[in-house]
């Protein structure tokens, strides 16, 4: 990080110096590239592994082009069926995960595939206290999801299925921007 190069946008700066007025601060001006056209959606993602785990093969492409506000109506039932197939304990009356959610409530949360993020403090997928306040690079999201699927009410059920025992990344993350580790 100590050798990070901060690039001043010399060209941009000079253009702004010529063109910038108080009423119009459009950043990209002048001879910019062609950005015309309509871009059609192909993939989307909120929380990790949702399409992979909860959506049937034949519906995976459709899930990627269903806007989040329509996902619950279109996919919650499929999610619940697949969750209960994966972890049949959820079919027992009153069975819940460690968040106190039945299979219906849990899949009702997951089917709308957006990442909830707090702007007021700690951001973590789950750290034992904070739940779904973001996703940090070091968060062991797979183990959290396995625990919520297989771990039962107390995170103690099915211990060999509820932790993959890979708890950290293969490289240290950076404390400063861009945070992700250098490539291999």
């Amino acid at each position: 990080m100590k050798t990070i190069k901060i690039f001043a946008l010399l060209l941009l700066t000079s253009i702004l110096a010529l063109n910038c007025s108080n009423s119009d601060e459009t950043v990209i001006v002048g001879n910019q590239p062609d950005f015309s056209g309509t871009y059609k959606q192909e993939d989307q993602m909120g929380r990790p592994a949702i399409n992979t785990v909860f959506v049937n093969e034949a519906s995976k492409d459709m899930f990627n082009v269903t806007i989040p506000s329509n996902q619950n109506a279109s996919f919650q039932s499929m999610f619940q069926t697949n969750l209960e197939a994966l972890s049949p304990a959820f079919t027992n009356p009153g069975d819940m995960n460690a968040l106190g959610q039945t299979s219906e409530a849990f899949t009702g949360l997951l089917a709308t595939d957006v990442l909830n993020v707090s702007l007021d403090g700690k951001t973590t997928f789950y750290d034992g206290t904070n739940v779904l306040t973001g996703r940090g690079l070091a968060d062991d999201v797979i183990t959290v999801e396995l625990l919520l699927i297989f771990g039962g009410e107390d995170f103690k059920e099915n211990p060999t299925l509820s932790d993959d025992n890979v708890d950290a990344n293969d490289k240290e993350f950076l404390t400063s921007f861009p945070y992700l580790a250098a490539p291999w």
Binding site: L12, Q32, D120, V166, Y179
Partner: protein
């Protein structure tokens, strides 16, 4: 465990097959392994706690040998979506689109249309551009308009013993190993990292976020 094996009859995740599908890597047939395939999405508080950091990774499972030639597709828009009114419809977007070795960013800005089709919001007040960092170089960063921008190859931050998960799903194992093996160890992704002042995306409270890839 015996209950778990019921899934084999139902086939929920047996479709995993030989494909490495994980956080969102290779998640669906239409995008599988292509240059619009989102592998991961992160959103977290920045080193400066007044900031939020958004990360979109695409084109996963790049070996070091393949990383130098991996490029962002100029026809693929990566769009961060921010809903700050609780209806799961984007109120703001941050768009990233490459042109001739640079990644151009537009937003946060209210999109001229929500949903599956987007136009590039070139009249956005906020944004900037950054030279795409070549493989093997120190990260090139632009800091502008209350934002920091990066685009280029990075280590895939995702970790998971996907091999053992697959073995369980296929009925060849009954559980994870006491010491897992990170399937994503030693692999890279193409990353887009944006740090933005929280005041530019809602200020306080809880927002809903997601990332999309869109092709011209």
């Amino acid at each position: 465990m015996k209950n778990f094996k019921r899934i084999l009859g139902i086939g929920v995740v047996a479709v995993a097959g030989f494909f490495i599908i994980a956080a969102d890597h290779i998640d669906a047939p239409a995008v599988k392994g292509g240059n619009s395939d989102i592998t991961d999405f992160y959103a977290f508080q920045g080193e400066d706690t007044n900031d939020l950091v958004l990360v979109a990774n695409v084109q996963g499972l790049l070996s070091p040998a393949a990383t130098g030639s991996a490029v962002f597709d100029e026809n693929v828009l990566i769009e961060f979506n921010i809903d700050n009114t609780g209806d799961n419809v984007e109120d703001l977007v941050i768009q990233a689109i490459p042109r001739d070795g640079k990644m151009y960013f537009f937003g946060p800005v209210a999109p001229s249309q929500t949903g599956l089709n987007s136009v590039i919001e070139t009249s956005s007040t906020y944004g900037g551009d950054v030279e795409i960092t070549p493989y093997g170089s120190e990260p090139i960063i632009t800091s502008t308009s209350g934002m920091a921008l990066f685009a280029g190859p990075r280590d895939d931050p995702f970790f998971f013993d996907f091999g053992q998960y697959t073995a369980i799903i296929e009925g060849n194992a009954t559980g994870f190993n006491a010491t897992g093996n990170d399937t994503f160890k030693g692999t890279n992704v193409l990353s887009i990292v944006v740090e933005v002042q929280k005041s530019m995306i809602g200020g306080s409270g809880t927002i809903n976020t997601w990332v999309e890839s869109k092709r011209k």
